[in-house]
């Protein structure tokens, strides 16, 4: 593939307008709404940016010896018409190295919830008052206490007026048994739903050998009233040095081997499937009711779908790499037309494009080297722009010179990924770049002319930039 930076003018100027699609109601003029778009992995209950994203927020881990050494939300200008295109325009430090990890928007995208896996703090950022300058709105620092011992808040996925949080661990032994937790948009605790285990299946059907009670990601299929979850490992492993863990047979026994479907409305687990080797991220099709997951240790692609005869089930549908080489599939992204997956493998710093137009037969199409290591991938709704970041976990990232920390933005021309810009997170003294979310002023301002009106706290209509 080509890795040379392309001049910015390669970007099509004509596509800078923003369009919003949503499965939630928006007045006309705001826009349309085709399907719920894959603007990477936004909740089906949220508006989507279907045009040009203006900003990318990067939830960044502080690193000892780098800059101010603490976790921060970094905002990068991604508007090709802006003078600061491709540059860091804002950085908001939150204090401590908390193992910053994933983040997710509230259903109206006005707030970004950013979680931490070590200290269990959740930082809620106001990203609507001025998307170019997020503000820290609230810190939840009693997560373990109010949830009854849940540790490691991981995925934040919007429900109407609420956030569903999947977690990774527990307060009792820092192992993998964990729960789903629901909060209000205002940051108030609602309920804890412990994952079913052999000791207590909580009404779920165990279809295979395992009911490990582990957790990782969460997605919704509203049309089927289904919630899908996957499984990873507890604090003891995700905080452990990666090489140390791989050499520790006891630790390697403690990975999740399950995915589950839940009754979304009732919040009750329905079926537990065996998916060996830590099924991590879940990405659901936008036009159909099935989801993919990839296994970190066994390097497989699995499909979770509703079979006419078996009902909800899971099936292996592809191979990502040779597990003896530890490719370690991590984040992946599904294209908006459900035809392709971009799957990152951390250890070889490569992204792989799989054709999943037949979801039961994932076919490798091409491979593209991104860096010495790569974790997250986010793609624009039109699939023409892809963003990659480098950090997996503070103690799993590579050591020494291989520990590159970056955000790289590429254009996809159908055959090649063409590097447009790169931000070196170490040179910029920021830290480890992890989860990316897109943002745009136009999500929050529909006033075409420069009129301003205040509707009260929290519902301000921002001034137009036009």
């Amino acid at each position: 593939m080509k890795t040379r930076p392309n001049p910015i003018h390669r970007l099509r100027r004509s596509c800078t307008a923003l369009a919003l699609a949503t499965s939630s109601a928006l007045a006309i003029g705001m826009l349309p709404a085709t399907v719920s778009a894959d603007e990477t992995c936004v909740s089906p209950y949220s508006p989507k940016i279907t045009g040009q994203e203006q900003f990318v927020h990067v939830w960044t881990l502080g690193v000892k010896g780098i800059g101010d050494e603490q976790d921060k939300l970094v905002t990068i200008d991604t508007d090709p018409e802006s003078d600061t295109f491709g540059e860091v325009i804002h950085s908001l430090s939150v204090g401590g190295r908390n193992e910053a990890h994933h983040s997710g928007y509230s259903d109206d995208r006005r707030y970004l919830w950013a979680g931490t896996l070590d200290t269990n703090k959740i930082f809620i950022f106001d990203v609507h008052t001025d998307p170019s300058k997020p503000k820290l709105h609230k810190v939840i620092d009693d997560f373990v206490k109010v949830t009854g011992g849940v540790v490691g808040p991981h995925s934040f996925f919007a429900l109407p007026g609420r956030i569903m949080i999947s977690a990774l661990s527990n307060n009792k032994d820092h192992g993998g048994r964990t729960a789903m937790v629901e909060y209000t948009n205002e940051g108030e605790y609602v309920e804890t739903y412990w994952m079913p285990t052999d000791d207590n299946l909580r009404g779920a059907e165990k279809t295979g050998k395992y009911a490990d009670g582990y957790g990782y990601d969460v997605r919704f299929l509203p049309a089927k009233n289904i919630m899908v979850t996957s499984s990873f490992t507890g604090w003891s492993n995700y905080m452990m040095d990666f090489g140390k863990m791989l050499n520790d047979p006891e630790a390697m026994k403690r990975f999740g081997n399950t995915a589950m479907v839940w009754d979304l409305h009732k919040r009750k687990p329905l079926k537990i499937f065996d998916i060996p080797g830590a099924p991590l991220e879940i990405r659901c099709a936008w036009g159909s009711n099935y989801c993919f997951t990839t296994t970190a240790l066994t390097s497989k692609i699995w499909l979770i779908y509703e079979d006419k005869n078996e009902g909800w089930t899971a099936r292996e549908v592809g191979t990502i790499g040779d597990p003896s080489k530890v490719p370690l599939p991590v984040a992946f992204s599904i294209t908006a037309d459900d035809s392709y997956l971009w799957i990152n493998t951390f250890m070889d710093g490569t992204t792989r494009r799989f054709d999943v137009s037949d979801p039961f037969n994932a076919k490798l199409v091409s491979e593209h080297k991104i860096g010495s290591q790569v974790n997250m991938v986010s793609q624009s709704w039109d699939g023409e722009r892809l963003y990659f970041t480098s950090s997996l976990l503070g103690n799993w990232d590579k050591k020494g010179e291989a520990d590159e920390q970056f955000l790289k933005m590429y254009n996809w021309d159908g055959e090649d990924l063409n590097l447009v810009f790169e931000v070196d997170f170490y040179k910029e003294k920021l830290g480890r770049a992890h989860l990316m979310t897109f943002n745009s002023n136009e999500l929050f301002e529909t006033n075409i002319a420069g009129k301003k009106e205040e509707l009260g706290d929290g519902v301000a209509v921002a001034e137009s930039t036009d």
Partner: protein
């Protein structure tokens, strides 16, 4: 061939102008693709047929049976000042009455069919159902509140309401005096709205908003929030009926917080003063008498995560009571911010008789060991004594605890250390099958295999030369440090190029270790006692561990490198890792398979009879975790 997947488009949104209440024709509609500014097609937008939101059609799944689930209260439903259609003012709460309320924010000129019209359509369907069902009609109320007071005057809302006129059910249409009155209501309900202006800066009358409809119970608590994707009359009715059943059954019962079992302080003290069979008497150092107040305080410290630098770790997060006060899930421990520690977490049973402390023997007293742990930046991660003491003196739940335990003395280095040491000393464990057999005269208490194992242990296998057994008690340690070869092998042995690894689900694979290059910070090294004395003869010497409850404390050896008791016996049978500095008592033993099995049977007979007591006491311990802002 593969099983087919039922294709089902997700909730989609039409965009076309429709008078409120007018229902679009069913069927697909080409997606509108007009970006906000340019009115040009959205590049890359996927052409898919659109359908109406589920609320207009039959549910694509079976609605839940009422009462088979619960809806935890989400938040108190906020209040505000509203205007009725006759222009009179009321509070929103008054409008709720004592009913189950379905509250929808709308505006009369909204023409997104899957926006306000959807909400109104669903409410209309509910209205029709209520009219036919006296119980629902009596208990439910529908509220449509405008978020466009400038256009939606009470008169406009009255005319609007006439579209849905009927009898026998409650449906109120409300508005507000002004945007200023409305704003706090919208903010409180989290209903962000953006008004849409034209290029001249004039309001187009259009408002963009994320659709939310609220279900509120008679106690004015929000119990569900619906959006386009699942606002459906069948779901709302199932929820209302669920809430009505809940009320009939006495109201919402939060999952009963597991009531904590009682602390077992008295039993801990009793077993410390009259030690279990097989243990010598326990003598606390002078000035460190075991009292209930000190045990309770020490236990509280042991389980308190707030005592670590980032308030994440406690002693109990590595020394896990249910896992033999060690951690069965890893060979070497993980500390502050995941830093790698070099050794297996030590079990804490019978620490009272352990001297020196730590596997390299570098510490002598439990109360000073406490501070070694608290101040170790890789372990509890506190920067100074002052940081810890300030925290202890400032935490309200520690008020008077030190003073009560130490004759008025507050938290300081000594009282903190002694409290912790006192609790640790009570973790005694004996009266195992072996003790009953050896010291209690119960011949049948231990199996014949274990008895044969004991003969080997004290005889031909030579284990007891370090793991000592006395006439009237057994601690199974000489409290000395020896070189067994484990440490030497790690420091001096060659690393394997390939290694079998478990990948989950029982899948094992031979790994190419080159693939892991660069993943570990730095290969660790551990020279044991030498690190404390700097004397070369002390290289790779580690303290003999006691063996009580050894079946509970896998993995084994100072580095957790042996996963099972069988592996440990095998290691000694092979004579360790032969090298000049290895203790001369480590030699090939020539044990048969039966001998090895007998030795393992013996080791498994060393499990004390009080482990469940110690776990129950730990279960009852208050776990100190950050309690949030302002607490």
């Amino acid at each position: 061939m593969y099983p087919s997947i039922a294709r089902f488009p997700k909730a989609l949104v039409f965009v076309f102008g429709c008078a409120l209440g007018a229902m679009p024709a069913a069927g697909a509609e080409e997606a509108a693709k007009v970006p906000a500014k340019t009115k040009e097609p959205v590049k890359g937008a996927i052409d898919r047929p659109q359908v109406l939101a589920p609320g207009y059609t039959a549910l694509s799944f079976d609605p839940p049976d009422a009462g088979t689930y619960s809806l935890p209260p989400i938040a108190p439903a906020p209040d505000g000042r509203v205007l009725k259609t006759d222009g009179s003012e009321a509070s929103l709460h008054d409008a709720f009455g004592d009913k189950y309320v379905v509250l929808s924010f709308i505006y009369s000129t909204c023409d997104d069919v899957n926006g306000c019209p959807l909400a109104t359509y669903v409410l209309y369907r509910l209205y029709q159902t209520m009219q036919k069902n006296p119980e629902l009609a009596e208990n439910m109320r529908l509220l449509s509140l405008s978020f466009d007071p400038q256009n939606d005057t009470p008169e406009v809302m009255r005319l609007y309401a006439e579209n849905f006129a009927g009898k026998g059910a409650d449906w109120l249409f409300l508005t507000t005096e002004s945007n200023d009155v409305l704003a706090p209501i919208l903010a409180d309900y989290g209903q962000g709205v953006n008004r849409v202006y034209n290029e001249e800066g004039e309001s187009t009358g259009q408002i963009s908003h994320v659709l939310r409809v609220f279900l509120i119970d008679p106690e004015r608590r929000i119990r569900n929030i619906y959006s386009v994707s699942f606002l459906h009359p069948d779901l709302v009715l199932a929820d209302v009926r669920t809430l009505m059943q809940e009320a009939a059954a006495g109201g919402y019962q939060a999952a009963a917080a597991k009531s904590k079992p009682p602390l077992r302080t008295r039993e801990l003290m009793a077993q410390a003063s009259h030690t279990p069979l097989g243990l010598p008497p326990l003598e606390a150092p002078e000035g460190q008498e075991i009292t209930a107040a000190r045990v309770d305080l020490g236990r509280k410290l042991f389980f308190d995560r707030r005592l670590s630098g980032n308030e994440t770790l406690s002693c109990a997060m590595c020394h896990i009571p249910e896992q033999g006060f060690t951690n069965n899930t890893m060979s070497r421990a993980v500390g502050m911010e995941g830093q790698s520690l070099r050794r297996n977490t030590a079990s804490l049973y019978n620490l009272a008789w352990q001297d020196p402390l730590y596997v390299d023997g570098r510490e002598r007293h439990l109360h000073t060991l406490t501070w070694s742990e608290l101040l170790d930046l890789k372990r509890m991660g506190n920067r100074s004594v002052g940081v810890v003491l300030d925290k202890l003196r400032g935490l309200p739940d520690y008020e008077d605890l030190f003073e009560d335990a130490f004759d008025g003395q507050s938290a300081d280095m000594v009282t903190t250390g002694v409290a912790m040491a006192t609790y640790l000393r009570t973790l005694v464990s004996g009266t195992s099958p072996f003790d009953r057999w050896r010291f209690g005269g119960e011949e049948g208490a231990m199996s014949p295999a274990a008895a044969r194992g004991y003969e080997l242990f004290t005889g031909r296998a030579g284990c007891a030369s370090c793991h000592e057994v006395s006439e009237d008690h057994a601690l199974f340690t000489d409290n000395q440090l020896h070189n067994t070869g484990i440490g030497w092998h790690h420091s001096m042995g060659k690393e394997p190029r390939r290694q079998v690894m478990e990948l989950g689900g029982g899948i094992r694979i031979e790994m190419d270790m080159d693939a892991l290059a660069g993943t570990e910070e730095r290969s660790y090294n551990d020279l044991g006692l030498y690190e404390a004395t700097q004397d070369p003869v002390d290289r790779w010497k580690f303290r003999t561990p006691g063996l009580r409850n050894v079946a509970e404390t896998a993995p084994y050896m100072h580095d957790g490198s042996l996963p099972t008791l069988e592996a440990v016996v095998e290691f000694y049978d092979q004579g360790g890792f032969e090298h000049p500095e290895q203790d001369e008592r480590i030699r090939p033993l020539g044990l048969s398979d039966a001998d090895k099995a007998d030795l393992v049977a013996f080791l498994k007979a060393l499990t004390g009879d009080n482990l469940r007591l110690l776990e129950a006491d730990a279960e009852a311990a208050p776990v100190g975790v950050p309690a949030g802002e302002g607490s």
